[in-house]
Symmetry: C2
Subunit: 318 residues, 2 copies
């Protein structure tokens, strides 16, 4: 955990001591580096090269923007940061490799709790955290970058590969994260599954790997909401979208399912949904859920024949 | 530039529009992805695997912490973020590969200017920015993660490899960045070199590659100040440090040279400083500057025989 810093050294809780405590969190979760690799503790990590093409992604989560820290824990924020990034790796058909994490925290933040959530995600998804940075800031920001590997010769599954006639499926019902947030705000009366989905979202890594092998033509994760993310897939592919249904998660509303975001289910285009369903079944995965199809009218965006709102979450940056 | 977000979409300056403008900045600086690679625009980037071991590092810079944005530009902050990370790649003897960048910005921030500084560093150091994330925050934070390649079979040059008797050298005079900040605060009367060193620090990438090939035993970049960074190298290697001199940059004070930080010169341990100097000369690099030696008394930290203060910059996080 090397760092470029500008705050005067004054305290026993200075950077080096804190970095050691954070490093211990990751070593407890993941063990030490194998022989020949360098993980946390030097200027940079050195690890084995991927046996295939290199996949690379990053996401940052911000306390107060991506999570209400009065409702969920710092560990949940840490979990979400790494899980969101690994979801992006999986959404092109990649397998996670290694992660590095930037922790930007106000003085007094429970950095060990924050790192514990990252370490739990790291262990869950099999992606060692091999380095990072700790820096002072006025707001909690966790930036998680991860490498991955794209195995074999097949191309990655991009947003741009869908063709008219392809069927669209999702890997699970939607809206659970938004429902969980609503339930937490109301004092948490409702399905525990929704609250868990909000606090500890799952990355659909196995689904992404299987979908790539089973001939998916386009894929992305539903991070900002199906409404907005499907517009992105349609624009990238130059196809229209006609949805017949949107599967609604337990406890969620239809509006949350269309526009909720942060579910991290995958939306997949395929010319052969039966082959995809069989591959999912063979891998022991939940059945993919058909929601509609890609059309040749690139301007079409419909749900039950009515216009599909560009619904979801965008940062306002202008 | 995929993103997990929680702010309602309301504006023409929403995330997608801003991400497109940022992507254009990087495409102008670096051109489009070569055939078979996926850069900015999908869930994750897909690039060639490194021809050697994978090096991986990250650094975050925070407006108001790592830079006074009333004295230096957002482009300078962006430059510093990526340069600091690539300095870490170089400090183990790696060559930069690819970068991903998180931009966390308050509404109204000139994100194009911020990205332009990152793109300029990206072009300067030959490290394409292939992805990233844009998110809202209350303070400007730029997190830059980069891969690199460690070529050949030689081990990386870590902080922990120095032995008693090794000579210590630095790749340049120190204190320029701190002097530049002092001069900017005073209205910028003084050497332009110091101000440039503060606004646009250099990563000593060629020096790191040559030092590894020329038998360096330990290496790190001087990011937090020679005083504190040499303590770290000595602790990692289990050696003492006895310095004879500290080269002071034009316009800097001796205190700034010892404790200033952010110079990003490399400090290198080697049993054969003549071989190192010859290798630097053969590569057309500035001569390394001998500053002292490693000793067998692991508790020793001296400069001209007097105790070397643990001087430098640590974030206060407790």
């Amino acid at each position: 955990m090397a760092s470029t810093t500008c705050a005067p050294a004054v305290s026993a809780q200075g950077e080096d001591a804190v970095v050691r405590r954070v490093a211990e969190v990751f070593e407890r979760a993941l063990g030490a580096a194998p022989a020949g690799e360098v993980w946390i503790g030097d200027d940079a990590a050195v690890v084995a090269a991927p046996a295939g093409r290199l996949v690379f992604a990053t996401d940052a989560v911000v306390g107060g923007v991506h999570a209400d820290l009065s409702l969920t824990g710092l560990d949940d924020l840490g979990w979400k940061a790494l899980t969101a990034t690994l979801s992006d790796i999986g959404a092109v058909g990649g397998r996670p490799g290694y992660a590095v994490v930037d922790f930007c925290v106000p003085p007094g933040t429970d950095l060990v709790l924050l790192a514990t959530g990252v370490a739990e995600a790291s262990a869950e998804w099999g992606c060692p955290v091999v380095g990072g940075d700790v820096t002072a800031s006025s707001q909690v920001v966790v930036g998680a970058a991860a490498t991955g590997v794209l195995e074999g010769d097949r191309p990655p599954v991009l947003r741009s590969g869908a063709s008219p006639g392809d069927r669209l499926v999702v890997t699970g019902a939607l809206g659970a994260s938004a429902a969980g947030l609503r339930l937490l705000r109301a004092g948490a009366r409702g399905p525990a599954s929704a609250i868990a989905a909000h606090r500890r979202p799952r990355a659909r890594l196995a689904e992404g790997l299987v979908a790539r092998r089973a001939g998916a033509t386009a894929m992305m994760d539903v991070s900002d909401g199906l409404g907005i993310d499907l517009h992105r897939l349609a624009e990238a592919s130059g196809v229209g979208i006609a949805l017949d249904t949107v599967p609604v998660a337990d406890g969620a509303t239809e509006e949350e399912a269309v526009g909720g975001g942060e579910d991290f289910e995958l939306v997949i285009a395929t010319p052969d949904p039966t082959r995809l369903a069989e591959a999912f079944a063979a891998a022991g995965l939940r059945p993919p859920i058909e929601i509609g199809r890609c059309t040749g009218d690139a301007a079409e965006r419909t749900l039950w024949g009515r216009p599909l709102a560009r619904a979801g979450f965008e940062h306002v940056l202008g």
